[in-house]
């Protein structure tokens, strides 16, 4: 390591000062403030667990938590399965083509929130191009698909999970060595048995890690759902935003308690990811 004198040390730490102040003011203090507020009563006084009790006993907030978890789980599972299939297919392509697909995935990860919701409205909204097409073709059951419901929301979430999942899953396939496949083929295993007993189990920790990132990605999302149905669909993120900046009288304390619950679930998912990454690294993947 490069050597430094004591005075230089001080000068260098001075370099870090603006960043420290910035992080404290706009990252740490707001989080601390939110934590404090979540333990206050409605008037912003005292110490109480009332907000958390309310969050876990009222039907509407329980349903919001449940809906958020459900949408996050389903979209992540579907997303990761599709990404695994596509990720494997990508490894079979030529290098130039592979780079291009990854670039496209990378680009499409930006296609979320308001633009995505809008694009789906054009396709599948009440007067959407596909809705009209299905009507013309007499496919009534498809034409009746309502985008502004949970299924519609799931469709959007799956759409934006897939490119991210591909970007995260694709490198995992590099851990599967060609020699292993050869060895198992020589020993008479079919491709299916190779993946069933060697490939997938080897990849599992990394897959779970990716899965937790997708869960966090879906739980924290707000713009997509908001752009699609306003505050109508009952998700945790929608509830939180409505409580602090909506049309109703704001309740920062309850909003904070819900936000803390959301943050805790996300932290849990991130720790799972960290843990799985370490685990798979130890196994040499």
């Amino acid at each position: 390591m490069a050597r430094t004198g004591p005075i230089q040390n001080k000068i260098m730490l001075l370099v870090c000062l603006p960043l420290l102040i910035w992080i404290a003011a706009f990252e740490l203090l707001p989080i601390a403030g939110m934590l404090v507020m979540s333990f206050q009563d409605d008037s912003g006084q005292g110490f109480s667990l009332g907000q958390y009790i309310r969050a876990f006993t009222s039907d509407i907030y329980l349903q919001a938590i449940w809906n958020s978890l459900k949408v996050a789980l389903i979209s992540s599972i579907v997303g990761i399965i599709i990404a695994l299939v596509c990720g494997y297919a990508i490894t079979r392509l030529s290098e130039g083509f592979r780079d291009r697909i990854l670039m496209v995935s990378n680009m499409i990860t930006n296609f979320v929130g308001v633009p995505l919701a809008f694009a789906y409205m054009i396709m599948l909204g009440n007067n959407g191009a596909f809705t009209l097409l299905f009507q013309k073709l007499g496919l009534d059951s498809l034409a009746k698909f309502d985008l502004y419901t949970e299924n519609g929301l799931l469709m959007l979430y799956i759409y934006y999970q897939i490119p991210l999942a591909i970007l995260l899953v694709y490198p995992i396939f590099h851990g599967i060595r060609e020699e292993w496949k050869e060895a198992s083929a020589l020993l008479g295993a079919s491709a299916w048995r190779f993946w069933r007993h060697i490939g997938i189990p080897m990849m599992l920790p990394s897959i779970l890690g990716t899965f937790s990132i997708l869960i966090a990605n879906a739980l924290g999302a707000y713009a997509t759902a908001y752009a699609l149905t306003g505050s109508n669909f009952n998700l945790l993120s929608i509830r939180i935003a409505a409580l602090v900046s909506g049309d109703i009288f704001p309740n920062f304390q309850l909003g904070s308690a819900l936000a803390v619950i959301l943050a805790l679930i996300m932290l849990l998912a991130m720790f799972l990811n960290e843990w799985m990454t370490r685990y798979s690294r130890r196994r040499g993947l």
């Binding site: 297919a89 496209v104 930006n110 296609f111 633009p115 809008f118 694009a119 713009a223 996300m266």
Partner: protein
């Protein structure tokens, strides 16, 4: 699949190509639909539009509200990114070269926005900065302040990996042995060598700022309309002009991704890094 018992030879297989074709179709479908919608003159009851026009693009590009929204977003982007680089690059450099033990702290700070998504982080920010001694909500300043936090990961990742590829520690030691001061060496040797990584950070940050909706909505609202806010409002009024906005936004992202990819491929200016055996990867 079952029959592919010739393991080494990577034969041309139809399966993967079909899968990827379906994937691309699926990913591009919403974008193509939006594009068609934005250039359709008459699209009532047919599968494809019957006639085309570019008038909606003319419409948004002559709408001062849209142009101002773009200018505002650009302004926020430029200010945030310049501040972010000015503050963060020296810190990343100092920590990476002289205080590697402290890097962990920076990494945690960089990761925090992932655990506290905008909708969560906004609560404390609204409470702290609406009214009180520093009323910032509803102004451009709060956006710059929070976007700075959100672009930290991009700047950290890009700059840190550039420092790694040029072996900044060795370069600094060499410079000092040759009698250069630390600041001089940083400005004249390190900075010119990490510019492409820094540029990547800038571009990724820009695409983040142009795509950000939640913070803008919750902290600033209608008082400072950014591109995403404009789109959200336009969406309710006029479908075609909103779709022209979406397509324009997507072209912008496409352009940025292309440049990032180009930059990612080139080696830092003329410097040939010798990979250390068993050394740092990535």
């Amino acid at each position: 699949m079952r029959r592919s018992s010739q393991p080494v030879a990577r034969r041309k297989e139809a399966g993967p190509t079909i899968i990827i074709a379906v994937l691309l179709l699926y990913l591009f479908l919403p974008i193509v639909a939006t594009l068609l919608f934005s250039i359709a003159k008459d699209w009532q009851s047919s599968i494809l539009p019957t006639s085309y026009t570019l008038s909606w693009y003319g419409h948004i590009f002559s709408d001062p509200r849209f142009l101002f929204a773009v200018l505002r977003t650009l302004l926020v982007g430029v200010l945030t990114v310049s501040l972010g680089l000015a503050v963060m690059v020296p810190v990343i450099f100092v920590l990476a070269v002289y205080f590697p033990k402290w890097e962990k702290l920076l990494q945690i700070s960089v990761l925090l926005p992932f655990a506290f998504p905008p909708v969560v982080a906004a609560i404390g920010l609204i409470k702290l900065y609406s009214g009180g001694p520093v009323p910032l909500t509803g102004t451009i300043w709060i956006l710059i302040a929070v976007y700075f936090i959100l672009i930290q990961p991009f700047i950290y990742q890009s700059v840190r990996s550039s420092l790694r590829t040029i072996h900044a520690q060795d370069l600094m030691e060499a410079a000092e042995v040759l009698g250069s001061g630390k600041v001089n060496a940083f400005l004249r040797i390190i900075l010119p060598n990490i510019w492409s990584g820094t540029l990547v950070a800038c571009l990724l940050s820009f695409s983040m700022v142009f795509g950000e909706f939640v913070m803008g909505r919750m902290l600033v609202g209608g008082e400072f309309e950014t591109v995403q806010q404009y789109l959200y409002n336009a969406m309710k009024v006029s479908g075609p002009s909103a779709s022209a906005v979406v397509v324009t936004y997507f072209l912008f992202i496409f352009l940025i991704s292309g440049i990032v990819l180009k930059l990612g491929r080139r080696k830092p200016g003329g410097y040939l890094a010798h990979p250390k055996p068993g050394g740092e990867d990535q």
